[in-house]
C-alpha cells in the first residue's frame, strides 16, 4: 500500500515537474521565438503534447520570425543549436532533480516504514497474545479446580457411600462443604463452585466479585429422600437430570453470607429462588460423563462467566454421583485488555467462535439486558463504535467463512474516518474455541511516520521545484548571453559584408572617375594641339587670336582639372604621397591672389595681400613664436571663402597667418574667416565628413557637394596638421588650420632690404580699391617711397595738375593754393615732394579709372599722355581689358602694364624697372641705340603680362588640387614653378639689356613680335635661372649668364614662330657631350637636339664604348684644350678643365654594358682624380624607383624617354652650371 502511494506520489511530482518544464519552455518559446525543432523535442520528451491550437499559433510566430530573419538565414543553424542546447540542459536538470527527490524520499520513507511495520505487527501480536493467554490461564485454573473438586468429591462420596441415615448424609454434606470451601477460598478468581448431588441436593459457594461478598448457597435438605434418589441406571439419568433441573423448582434454597477469608457464617441464611443467583451445574451439562465447558451469564455480573462441569463418578465408575460445576468470571480478561489498551490505544475484544463477545477492552456492556435473562451480545452489536465497525468489517471481508487459520492481519482497514490495523487470533479450545481481535488505529503506529514522510515530500518537491526554476532561469540567462553574442556576431558579419560592398562600390566609383578623366585627357590633348596649330596660323585677326588664346587657356585649365580629378581619386584612395619641396610662402600667396583675383572681381570682392612685414618667409623663420602678421581680416562673402576652401590653400587676404618655429619645424597657422551664414556648432565636426554640408539648404543656394572640407581635412592631416572650426564673435565662420612643415636646413636667409629712399620716388596710386590702395601706399611709405593716392579720375587729374603745374612752370606755391583747394594731407605731401631733388614720378593708373563705356577713355589717355615725359605710367589692367585699349596704351609708349591685382612683388618689379630705367636714361645719350633692344623691351612688359595671365588661367580652375599640396606646388606642374620663379629673373633680364642698349620709344610698335612670345613661358635664360635659383636669391646672382642672354636677344627675331626652340639655341654652346645610346633613332634625335643648341656631341653605341671613349679622351685631353678654349670663350678661363666631356647622357638599357654598369665604371675610374663628370640617365622607365637606382649608381640626373627638349636643356644647364660656379 505504502509502495503504491509512494509511486503515485513520485509520479505526481514528476508530473508537476514536467508541468513546470512545460511552462518554462513556453517562456522560452516566447523569448526565443524559434521553435520548430525545439517544439518537436518538447513533444518527444514530455508526455503531454501541447495543445494543437497553441502550437499552430506558435508556428505562425515562427514563420513570421523566420521571414524576418530570412536574410540572415545562415545564422539560423546556430540559433537552432543554441535552443537545442538549452533544451538538453534543462531536461537534464529536470531529470537530475527529479531523481534526487525520488531517491531521497524513498530512502527516508521505506526503511522506517518497513521496520515500523514489523514492530507494529509484533506489538499487535503480543497485545493480543496476552489476553488470550490470560484466558487460557483462566480456563486451565478452572479445569484444575474442577478436577480437584471432582477428585475430592469422589473421595468423600466413596467414603460415605451408601449413607444409611440422615446423619451420615448430613455428615457427608458437611465434609463436602468443607473441602469445597477449601478449594473455593484457595482460588480467589473463582466465581462459584457448585455441587449437585444425585439426589438433587445442591451445595454452592458463590463469590460476588464486585462487592466481594461470599455466600454459601444450599437447598433444603428435607425435600430429598435418600431412597428416591437412588437410581443407578443410566436410563434414569435423563429423568434425574430433568428432575434436577426442572423438578427442583419447588425446592427452597438458602443463601448464607460467609466471611470471605474464614468461611464462617456471618449472616442468616436467606431463602432465595433456585438458580436465582448462580448457575448450578446439573447432570444435563455432562450428559456423556465427560467434562463440559460453556459460557454462562448471570444476573449479578455484567461479564460473562466461564463455567466448567465435571461428573463425579462412584467407585465403580458406573454411575454419576454428583456434578461439580465451577464458574470463573472473565472479568479479569477484560480488565487486562483495558490495561493494555490504555497503554497502546486501540481496542480489543474476544469472542467465541460464534461471534459472541466474551471480553472487550471497553466498558461497554457485554450482555443484553433482556427482560428475561441476560444473554451474550454479538460483537457486531457491541455498543462501542469501533469494535462494532471492526466486527462488521471483518464480517464483510470474510463473512462467516473465516480463513482456515482463523488469523487475519489487515493493515489498512478503514473504519469510519480512520484507518486501523485489524488482527485476529484464533484460540482453538476443544469445547470453547475463542477468537481474539485487536483493532489499533494506524495513526498510533504510523501517524508520525506518515506525517514526517508527507512533510519531507512536500519540502523535497518544493525545493526541487525551486532549484529547477532557478536552474532554468540561470540557463536562460547564460544561453541568452550566448545567443546575444551570436546575434551580435551575425550583425557584425553582415556589417562587414556591407562595408566591403560599400568600399568596393566606392572603389569602383573612384576608378571610374580616374578612368574617365584619363580617357578625357586624350581628346583634350588633341583640342589643345589643334588650338596650337590655329595659334600658329598667321592669318588670324587680333580678336580671333585672343579668343583662341582664351580657349587655349581654358583647355589647359580643363586639362589641369582632369589631372586634378586623378589626383583627387589618388587622395581618396590614400595613395597620395606628399613630397617635400621648398617653397616661398610669399610667392605662393601672390600666386593665389592672382588666381582668385578674377573670381573676386566677378563677385565684386577686392583681393588684397598684405605682407606688411615684407617677406613672409622671413616671418616664418624668425624666432618669435606665434608672431602675427597682422593682416586685417576682410569680410568676404561666403561664396568666396568657399572657393578658397576648395582651392585648399587657405591663405588669402582674409587669412590670418601665424608661424611658430620649433626645432626645424614650422607651424603655419591659417585662419579662414568669413561673414557668411555660419555653421551651427553642433555641425562643427560633421562638416568635415564626406558629403556633409552644414545646412542642406546651402546646396540649393550655393551648390557644392560637401566634399571640399573632407578633402581639405585629409590633406591637412597628411601634412601633419589639424583643421577645426573655432568659435567666432559675430556672424560667419572662423576656421583654423595649422600645417607642420619642416624648414630647409641650409636656409640662406635672404632679406630684401628694399630701400627706395635714395631714389626719391614719388608714386601716385590711382586705384579703385580702397583697401589695396591703402595697404600698398602704407607699404611703400614704409620703404621710403612717397605716395599720393587718388581713387577716381577727377582726383587723379587734380593731383596731376597740382604736381606738375605747380612745379613745372614756376616753383610757386601761392598760386597753387589759390587755384586748387586740396586737403591738408595732400598739401603736406606735395610740400615734401617739392623738397625732393629730381623726383621720379610713378603713376599707377587703374584702367578702371578710365571711362571705358564710351570713347572718353581715348581723351583721357591723351590727357595723361601729356605727362608722359615727366612721369612713368604703370597701367593696372583688368583681366578682361580689351586688346584695343592695350594697343592704344602701348601705342602711347606706356610699356609697363600689369594685371590686377597689385601686390608687393609686382610693385617691387615696377619700381625696380622704373629705377633702372631712370638710371639708364642718364646714360642713354651716350649709348648706341640698337634696334634689337626694343625687342627686349617688348619681351619684358609682355612678360609681366604673361606672368599674370597664367595665374588667371590657374584661378579659373577652382578645384585645383595641384595647388593644394601646399608645400610642393613645384612638383605637380613644373611649368608653373618655372613661371613663378621666372618672374624675378625677367626683370633682371630687363635690367641687363638696358644696361647695353638703353630704352627707346621708337620701336615700341613692334608688338606683333612680342605677341608671339606669349607662349614663351620659359625662355632659356629664365629657365636657367629657375634651376639655379630654387632659393630666392635670384636678383643678385645674375651676372654669369649675361653673355648668354645677350645672345638670346640677338637670335630672337630670327627664330620666328618657333620661339621656344630657337630661343635656347645656343645655350649649350661649347659644351662637349658624350651620348651613349644604342637605339639609332634615339641617338640621332638626341644628337641633333643637342647640336642645335650648340653642343658638340659624340655618340657611342653602348656603355663599354662610352667608358672607352672617356678614357682615351682623357689621354689627349691636354692637347685639345687650347682649341676647346677658343670655342668656349670666356667660360673656359674660369673653369678648370680636367675632363674631355662636360656631360654624359647615358641610356640605361644598352647591350654589352648597360648605363648603370658604365656609370659605375666611370665613377670608379674617377676615384682619386677629384673629377666628377655629370652623367644624366636616359631611361624609358618612368618609375621613381628607377630614378633612385640611377642616383644610387652615381648618376646626377635623370631624363625620361622620349626626351623632352626643355627638360633636357634645363637639366644639362643645371649640371654644367653647378660645375662652373
Amino acid at each position: 500500500m505504502a509502495e503504491d502511494r509512494y509511486e503515485t506520489c513520485s509520479e505526481g511530482s514528476a508530473c508537476s515537474q514536467m508541468g513546470s518544464n512545460n511552462k518554462c519552455k513556453h517562456v522560452f518559446d516566447r523569448l526565443c521565438g524559434f521553435a520548430p525543432s525545439w517544439n518537436w523535442n518538447t513533444t518527444t520528451t514530455t508526455t503531454l503534447p501541447p495543445p494543437p491550437s497553441g502550437r499552430r499559433i506558435f508556428h505562425r510566430d515562427v514563420e513570421k520570425e523566420a521571414f524576418q530573419y530570412a536574410s540572415s538565414s545562415h545564422c539560423l543553424s546556430s540559433y537552432y543549436s543554441v535552443f537545442v542546447v538549452r533544451l538538453a540542459i534543462m531536461v537534464m536538470l529536470a531529470i537530475l532533480i527529479g531523481l534526487l527527490t525520488i531517491l531521497t524520499w524513498h530512502f527516508t520513507k521505506i526503511y522506517t516504514t518497513k521496520s515500523l511495520k514489523t514492530l507494529a505487527y509484533d506489538l499487535r501480536y503480543e497485545l493480543l497474545q496476552r489476553p488470550i493467554l490470560r484466558m487460557w490461564n483462566i480456563l486451565n485454573s478452572t479445569a484444575e479446580i474442577t478436577t480437584a473438586q471432582v477428585k475430592l468429591s469422589q473421595y468423600v462420596i466413596r467414603r460415605y457411600s451408601n449413607p444409611v441415615n440422615q446423619a451420615e448424609q448430613v455428615e457427608l454434606y458437611e465434609a463436602m462443604r468443607a473441602i469445597t470451601w477449601a478449594l473455593f477460598s484457595s482460588k480467589k478468581a473463582l466465581n462459584s463452585i457448585t455441587i449437585n448431588y444425585k439426589n438433587g441436593f445442591v451445595q454452592a459457594f458463590h463469590r460476588d466479585l464486585k462487592d466481594n461478598n461470599t455466600s454459601y448457597i444450599y437447598s433444603d435438605l428435607s425435600n430429598y429422600s435418600m431412597v428416591a434418589n437412588e437410581m443407578n441406571s443410566f436410563s434414569a439419568h435423563q429423568a434425574w437430570n430433568d428432575k434436577a433441573i426442572h423438578g427442583n423448582k419447588s425446592a427452597i434454597w438458602y443463601r448464607e453470607p460467609l466471611d470471605p477469608v474464614t468461611g464462617d457464617k456471618i449472616g442468616k441464611a436467606m431463602k432465595i429462588a433456585p438458580e436465582d443467583l448462580i448457575n448450578i451445574a446439573g447432570l444435563s451439562q455432562v450428559p456423556d460423563g465427560v467434562a463440559s465447558w460453556h459460557v454462562a451469564v448471570s444476573k449479578f455480573t455484567d461479564s460473562p462467566l466461564l463455567s466448567a462441569a465435571l461428573p463425579v463418578w462412584d467407585s465403580s465408575n458406573k454411575s454419576i454421583m454428583a456434578v461439580v460445576g465451577v464458574t470463573t468470571a472473565l472479568y479479569s480478561v477484560g480488565q487486562l485488555m483495558k490495561e493494555l489498551v490504555e497503554m497502546h490505544s486501540g481496542h480489543m475484544y474476544l469472542t467465541s467462535q460464534e461471534g459472541y463477545l466474551l471480553a472487550t477492552s471497553t466498558n461497554a456492556p457485554l450482555l443484553t439486558n433482556s427482560t428475561k435473562h441476560p444473554t451474550l451480545k454479538m460483537a457486531v452489536d457491541c455498543e462501542n463504535e469501533v469494535i462494532k465497525l471492526g466486527a462488521e468489517w471483518l464480517q464483510r471481508a470474510y463473512g462467516n467463512h473465516s480463513p482456515p487459520s482463523h488469523e487475519v492481519h489487515v493493515e489498512n482497514a478503514k473504519l469510519g474516518h480512520q484507518q486501523y490495523y485489524i488482527d485476529s487470533f484464533f484460540l482453538n479450545l476443544k469445547r470453547l474455541p475463542l477468537v481474539g481481535v485487536i483493532i489499533i488505529p494506524r495513526k498510533y503506529i504510523m501517524g508520525q511516520v506518515d506525517e514526517r514522510a508527507f512533510k519531507t515530500l512536500v519540502i523535497l518537491i518544493s525545493a526541487s521545484l525551486c532549484i529547477l526554476v532557478i536552474g532554468c532561469v540561470c540557463i536562460l540567462i547564460l544561453t541568452n548571453g550566448v545567443s546575444k553574442e551570436m546575434k551580435l556576431r551575425a550583425a557584425l558579419i553582415s556589417q562587414l559584408e556591407a562595408r566591403r560592398k560599400a568600399e568596393a562600390s566606392s572603389n569602383y566609383k573612384s576608378q571610374f572617375l580616374a578612368n574617365m578623366s584619363h580617357e578625357l585627357r586624350t581628346p583634350m590633348a588633341a583640342v589643345i594641339g589643334l588650338l596650337d596649330i590655329l595659334i600658329s596660323d598667321d592669318c588670324l585677326t587680333n580678336e580671333q587670336y585672343s579668343t583662341v588664346t582664351q580657349i587655349r587657356k581654358c583647355s589647359t585649365a580643363l586639362l589641369r582639372l582632369l589631372n586634378n580629378i586623378l589626383d583627387l581619386s589618388k587622395v581618396e584612395s590614400g595613395k597620395l604621397v606628399l613630397e617635400d619641396a621648398e617653397f616661398d610662402l610669399g610667392r605662393e600667396l601672390e600666386g593665389l591672389v592672382d588666381m582668385f583675383s578674377v573670381q573676386c572681381i566677378n563677385h565684386n570682392v577686392e583681393t588684397v595681400l598684405d605682407l606688411s612685414a615684407g617677406h613672409i618667409i622671413l616671418r616664418g623663420w624668425c624666432e618669435y613664436p606665434n608672431s602675427c602678421n597682422g593682416s586685417p581680416i576682410f569680410p568676404l562673402e561666403q561664396k568666396k571663402s568657399r572657393c578658397i576652401q576648395k582651392a585648399r590653400e587657405k591663405q588669402n587676404a582674409n587669412n590670418e597667418k601665424r608661424t611658430t618655429k620649433r626645432d626645424n619645424k614650422v607651424i603655419l597657422w591659417f585662419e579662414v574667416d568669413d561673414t557668411g551664414c555660419g555653421i551651427d556648432p553642433s555641425k562643427w565636426d560633421s562638416v568635415f565628413e564626406s558629403f556633409e554640408q552644414a545646412d542642406p539648404s546651402t546646396t540649393r543656394l550655393h551648390g557644392g557637394t560637401g566634399l571640399g572640407l573632407c578633402i581639405v581635412r585629409n590633406l591637412v592631416n597628411k601634412m601633419g596638421g589639424d583643421i577645426k572650426v573655432v568659435k567666432k564673435e559675430g556672424q560667419g565662420t572662423l576656421m583654423r588650420l595649422c600645417l607642420v612643415l619642416s624648414t630647409p636646413t641650409d636656409v640662406t636667409e635672404q632679406h630684401y632690404a628694399l630701400d627706395f629712399t635714395d631714389n626719391s620716388l614719388v608714386v601716385l596710386l590711382a586705384l579703385h580699391g580702397n583697401m589695396s590702395r591703402l595697404i600698398t601706399s602704407k607699404w611703400l611709405q614704409k620703404n621710403g617711397v612717397c605716395t599720393i593716392e587718388a581713387s577716381e579720375w577727377n582726383g587723379l587729374t587734380q593731383v596731376l595738375r597740382e604736381l606738375f603745374h605747380a612745379r613745372s612752370p614756376v616753383h610757386n606755391n601761392n598760386n597753387f593754393d589759390a587755384h586748387y583747394p586740396v586737403t591738408e594731407g595732400l598739401k603736406s605731401k606735395l610740400l615734401s615732394i617739392q623738397d625732393m631733388k629730381k623726383p621720379v614720378f610713378v603713376i599707377v593708373v587703374d584702367i578702371g579709372l578710365l571711362d571705358l563705356s564710351t570713347d572718353i577713355w581715348k581723351e583721357q589717355l591723351n590727357f595723361l599722355h601729356r605727362y608722359f615725359g615727366r612721369a612713368r605710367f604703370v597701367w593696372m589692367l583688368n583681366h578682361d581689358t580689351s586688346n584695343n585699349i592695350k594697343m592704344e596704351i602701348r601705342r602711347k609708349g606706356n610699356v609697363l602694364m600689369v594685371n590686377k591685382p597689385l601686390y608687393k612683388a609686382k610693385m617691387v618689379h615696377i619700381l625696380e624697372a622704373v629705377i633702372k630705367e631712370r638710371n639708364l636714361e642718364l646714360q642713354k645719350r651716350n649709348n648706341m641705340i640698337g634696334p634689337r633692344t626694343t625687342t627686349k623691351e617688348g619681351e619684358l612688359h609682355e612678360f609681366l603680362e604673361i606672368d599674370s595671365t597664367h595665374f588667371d588661367a590657374g584661378s579659373s580652375d577652382d578645384s585645383d588640387t595641384s595647388e593644394t599640396v601646399g608645400s610642393n606646388p613645384v612638383s605637380v606642374d613644373g611649368d608653373k614653378q618655372i613661371e613663378l620663379v621666372a618672374r624675378s629673373p625677367a626683370s633682371s633680364t630687363y635690367k641687363i639689356n638696358n644696361c647695353l642698349v638703353g630704352l627707346t620709344n621708337e620701336h615700341l610698335e613692334d608688338t606683333n613680335n612680342a605677341r608671339k612670345e606669349e607662349s614663351c613661358q620659359s625662355s632659356p635664360s629664365s629657365s636657367k635661372h629657375a634651376i639655379e635659383e630654387s632659393d630666392p636669391k635670384s636678383l643678385s646672382t645674375k651676372e654669369p649668364s649675361q653673355g648668354g642672354d645677350s645672345e638670346c636677344g640677338e637670335t630672337h627675331r630670327a627664330a620666328g614662330p618657333n620661339n621656344n626652340v630657337v630661343n635656347g639655341k645656343n645655350s649649350l654652346e661649347g659644351l662637349r657631350i658624350l651620348l651613349a645610346e644604342d637605339t639609332p633613332v634615339l641617338q640621332r634625335v638626341a644628337t641633333i637636339m643637342l647640336e642645335k643648341m650648340g653642343a658638340s656631341v659624340v655618340a657611342v653605341g653602348d656603355g663599354q664604348q662610352a667608358v672607352d671613349a672617356l678614357h682615351c679622351k682623357l689621354g689627349v685631353d691636354d692637347c685639345r684644350r687650347d682649341s676647346l678654349q677658343k670655342e668656349r670663350n670666356m667660360r673656359s678661363q674660369t673653369e678648370i678643365l680636367t675632363s674631355p666631356y662636360d656631360l654624359i647622357l647615358m641610356d640605361c638599357q644598352m647591350p654589352k654594358m648597360d648605363g648603370y654598369e658604365a656609370t659605375k665604371a666611370i665613377r670608379k675610374s674617377e676615384v682619386g682624380t677629384g673629377l666628377h663628370i655629370p652623367i644624366v640617365a636616359l631611361t624609358a622607365h618612368a618609375m621613381s624607383c628607377d630614378e633612385a637606382k640611377c642616383l644610387e649608381v652615381g648618376m646626377d640626373a635623370y631624363l625620361t624617354k622620349p626626351i623632352d627638349f626643355k627638360q633636357m636643356v634645363s637639366t644639362i644647364l643645371s649640371l654644367t652650371k653647378r660645375k662652373t660656379s
Binding site: 596650337d532 596649330i533 600658329s536 614662330p1057 618657333n1058 637605339t1079 633613332v1081 634615339l1082 624609358a1180
Partner: protein, 154 residues
Amino acid sequence: MDVGQMQRQWLDYTRSLFIEGFLDNQFLQLQQLQDENNPEFVVEVVSLFFDDSERLLKDLNFALDQQGVDFKKVDAHVHQLKGSSSSIGAQRVKNACIAFRNFCEEQNVEACLRCLQQVKQEYCLVKNKLETLFRLEQQIVAAGGSIPMMELGF
C-alpha cells in the same frame, strides 16, 4: 595641284595622324629640329627607325619561334623598339610595345605572339602613313612650296 592646296592637305593629313594617335608630340619635336643644316632630318631619322624596327621585328620573330623562348632577350628587343618608336613619336607602336612587355614579364608566349602581330601591324600602319606624309612633302617641295610648320604645344 596647287601648292597651297597641297600644303593644306599636308596639314590635314598630319593633324589626322595626331588625332588618330599615330604620332605624338615627339614627332613635332623632330620636325622642329629640322633646319637648314639638316634639311632631311626627319626623313633620316624615320628611315633609321624603319631599318631598326625591321631588324628588331625580325629578331623578335626569330626569338619567339624558338622552342624555349628567351624572354629576357625578347624583352630587351621590345624595349629597344619601344625606345626608338617613342623617340620618333610613333605612339601606337609604343603602346603596343608596352602591352608586349607586360606579357613578356608574365612569360606568356601566346600573348607575346599576339602582341608581336599587333606591333607589326601598327608598325606597318605607321610606316605607310609616314611614307605617305613624306611623299606629300616631296611633292610640295617639288612644286616649289615649303613645308608648313605646325606647332602642337602639348
